[in-house]
Amino acid sequence: MTINDYEVARLPSGIEGLDTVLAGGLPQRRLTLVSGTAGSGKTLCAVQFLAGGIADGSEPGVFVTFEERPAAIRRNFRSFGWDVGAWEDAGLWRFVDASPQPGDDAVVAGAFDLTSLVVRVKHAVAESGARRVALDSTGTLVDHFADPVAARRALLEISAELQEAGVTSVMTSERLDDYGPITRHGFEEFVADNVVILRNALEGEKRRRTVEVLKLRGGSHAKGEHLFTIKSDHGLIVVPREAVTLDYDVSGKRLTSGLPELDAMCCGGYYDKSLVLVTGPTGTGKSLMATHFIAGGVANDERALLLSFEESRGQLVHNAARWGHDFERMEAEGKLRIVAAAPEAAPLEDHLLRMKESIADFGPDRVAIDSLTALQRISTAKSFREYLLGLSFHIRTQALIGLVTAATDELGGSMIGGDLHVSTVSDAIVVLQYVGRGAEIARGVVVLKMRGSDHDKAMREYTVDDHGMHIGEPLALRAWTRLSEVL
């Protein structure tokens, strides 16, 4: 018997990436609470959960709305490509409208309960043959009456009825603080078997949307916060941060760096399915290294994708031509695609998604990103770290080789930028550095790290001319000093 035999059966959530975080999907026949602050995407999540069932296998769904009117939901989610009205006509979607109505404020004369709401949900599920139910959102129901006890009891009864009917459900509730109590009323978490948190936290001056599975009864899940974004034609898209699972194949295949001397320093080239970091101060030739990497791949009949966040397409083509590489011809032959974007044009999650889309669309064998420093400038430390994890995971699972460049701040300073977590996620690190030799300044290259392989530990001098970079002899240990020590 494996551990999976104890795991509760799962149902696809309908949300891209979330099933990975949930280790397969939402627990079937159970109620999952989705709690989040205002504007964190709760209603979207609930709607998408039902839409997923309808798209997946035409599983009918019931949407119990305590807050928004059905008309507003039909209208608001059309932009995501979901035609709720048509699904209603087809018997695939059914509303239970428990939203507050103007003029229905009854005088209260004695005790009451919300059994009729329970009756309505049960009736809707039975009549439609629903497999999925969404309840959105509980706080409004509780606030509707002066005494919250009736609402609490009703939600408990509904959850019991839903379980009995064998449907899988999502219930949303609001919380006041992204890192505070799970829900505003503090009881919904006791009604549900599973708890998922949506966050829309302000970090620095930027919004950072994440999803976290807080509790999943009877099953495993990926821990911690995972970035998500909202796209108009997809809804929520989660970027699972599961680079940490490390279940990709480690390849033994070697690929060229584009520089024969550097391949020799790496004992045969970079590994396939790995992420290579090229780092160094400004002007040392990081972009040139990326150019060699691209050209080397294309020369070996690989397809290459170049993502530039620093220079325009025209500038890249011009620079490559200066070093003897014809990017325009490579593009015309369909061996190269250049995507140049301003880092500020989109949040970091979107840059990651665009990269994934470019990879899916173009199908490259190698990808170069020049540079991460530009992306880091627009993001918070935390989301940058998650971007890197997502990036390295995607490159490995897509069986690509990736090369990223990053600048170090000081001219002769620390070998790797202090807050660049990229060094921990990369498999190989190549450092470019200015070195002082007497009154002269030379440039040196060293392979600092090469996961799973031996490598040349020496720092070698290199020069740059019209044909690009040329790596020469090791710099004699005593002959050079770090530039910072010279200045």
Partner: protein
Amino acid sequence: MLRRSMPSSVLRLYVVGGTPPSERALHGVERLRAELGPDVEVEVIDLRERPELAESERIIATPLLVRVSPEPVRRVLGDLSDVERLRWSLGLPGQDAT
């Protein structure tokens, strides 16, 4: 059975059979009937038997007493144990002062 005169009030009571507040409201309505005689007509609807009415009327809480006529429509939620409030909100004649 023919009535001699039109009732001055038509009430509709929505209940969910078997729940304590609904059962108490049914007793309360019986008291009203006994007291007001043909002046009031009460229709009782058990939503457990007519769930589609709960949906079309968007009823989430019961027992719910609705004064259908005379206009305007008035709604009283609860087991009708608060008799004074009930009379006041439905505009029913109060008991004679004793």
